[in-house]
Symmetry: C2
Subunit: 330 residues, 2 copies
Amino acid sequence: MADIARLAGVSTSTVSRALSGSPLVNDETKTRITELARSLNYSINIGAQNLRLRQSRTVAVVIPYEAETRQHLSDPFFLSMLGSVADALTDRGFDMLLSRVDAERLDSIAQIYDTGRASGIILIGQWRHHDQLNQLAARRVPVVVWGAQLPQQLYVTVGSDNVSGGFLATEHLIRSGKRHIAFFGDIQLPEVAQRYEGYCKALIQYGRPVVPQLQVQASFAENGGREAVTELCQRQITFDALFACSDLLAMTSINSLRERHFRVPHDIAVVGYDDIELARYFHPPLSTVRQPMAQAGQALVEALLAIVDHDNNTQPRLLPTELIVRKSST
Amino acid sequence: MADIARLAGVSTSTVSRALSGSPLVNDETKTRITELARSLNYSINIGAQNLRLRQSRTVAVVIPYEAETRQHLSDPFFLSMLGSVADALTDRGFDMLLSRVDAERLDSIAQIYDTGRASGIILIGQWRHHDQLNQLAARRVPVVVWGAQLPQQLYVTVGSDNVSGGFLATEHLIRSGKRHIAFFGDIQLPEVAQRYEGYCKALIQYGRPVVPQLQVQASFAENGGREAVTELCQRQITFDALFACSDLLAMTSINSLRERHFRVPHDIAVVGYDDIELARYFHPPLSTVRQPMAQAGQALVEALLAIVDHDNNTQPRLLPTELIVRKSST
DNA sequence: ATGAAAGCGCTAACAG
DNA sequence: CTGTTAGCGCTTTCAT
């Protein structure tokens, strides 16, 4: 910057002003400086600017990983979410810091904020960590979580309407004439619990019994579908439909069902959750509950920036879900 | 920091030294300061530290997106790569900036470097952008690309041995008694071209003809498999095996083949590429060529940091590939 | 072993 | 409209 100032025969203040588009500077000098900057391939040093402005214009995004596997979840849903958040941040001129954090050490993300690396944190995946998240919020770390809204929650969540999603999927299966609808998902997880709630609600509303035997504690891991199908078959219970809590789970379940010579949808109708890109190209094309990804990134970023701006009244956001009917259920 | 200094009755210099573990400070005062810092929940401001140290300890990772769709590729391979790079960076105490960049405007990533936001850039996906990348390297932007090594290449690549990968897959299919092996992949892309080269090499080595009709220009997009299968069937050419250039492509192709009542592997043996997690849980479990993901992140980061340290002689790295035989081909 | 002072690259009063 | 000056939070000579 000093170089530019010297070459342009002005002070650094003027250069700074010119480059930030201040109206307080002569148009002629402004152009001269801008030209000079371009020809020298000069860009403002963001680090110094941020220091001076006492900001960071950076948001950290955290997708926790499981300690045992050290692996990121390979669910395309997360990549999609990442893209959506990246878009929303880019639109607002924020940088995105991606952090790898052990799911059991969520408190460590406070560091990202304390050290000034990011003005706030977006956590994708609430999992079982309600308490840790409450502690974070109590420490006044600006954080927004993608997940379910829970009672006694100190942190802000953005999530889709899981109860409604579960309801829509189940209602659709009931109306298609299915009588024994299995539910695949770990109801220890808040989001899944709410989908299960919607599932039960639909059954009850249509005068059907809620059969606990039909609920299988399927994990979101890659082999979740296979294991859940095995478990369900061992229970020797009749079922003619399946509501799986993620598309990936639905897909691996369908593969397993096929190995056991069930036909989908003829013998078993299947509905997934998320509506990942792949869902429509699966065989058969997968019926599913769509989470509004484009809105998700926007909503997460808006909520976080509100908190960063000390809006102490930021409310949790519930995004609408939508049933997408394809061949796997009809 | 000034606060701590005051409370500890020392100067900020001492606090700085204590917190950075300098040996030039009395053990007693060091503990006092450390305690104080912890109790105040204080962490060093990384931005200021970086400014003073004229570094950034941040690496930008770029996965370009296609302008038309504005969408990230939903291939789990990329998430896996992201995780691998994140690990390698975390190990070395670097932060990871994730940037969303239009594939047609790759030159814009120079900005990330010019503004000092990152000390260097890791680009995942070479695609067709050889020339743009050469320009970047010519501008002396520290950049490492995941992809194929090409002639007249000014930038550094890290990639797996695509020729060998293509060879292994094809050889395996030939040895399994297959006679008409289709190849799915866009050979405009350098990596795919090399896999095709390996495919041809194997055919020739085993005295088989290379039939151009068997090569289909399949895209990596979600519907790539379906379109390629349609295309191949329209050509009315016999085939009894398929080598697809990604696992995702292999999976969607298998789904499409099944719709057309081909049995896999009985009628058509299929081998994919990448060995994503999902491959072993697919039905049937997918034979594939594994790319060494754990090494990939390490190698990319090592190469980049070497360049950042002005090692002008950083060589491209070729990582080994490995054939994984599962049910889809036997 | 510790402190004073200078400065990383930038911006924002405050004067002129 | 432009320049002077001070300082964001930190590290590091250079003294002591």
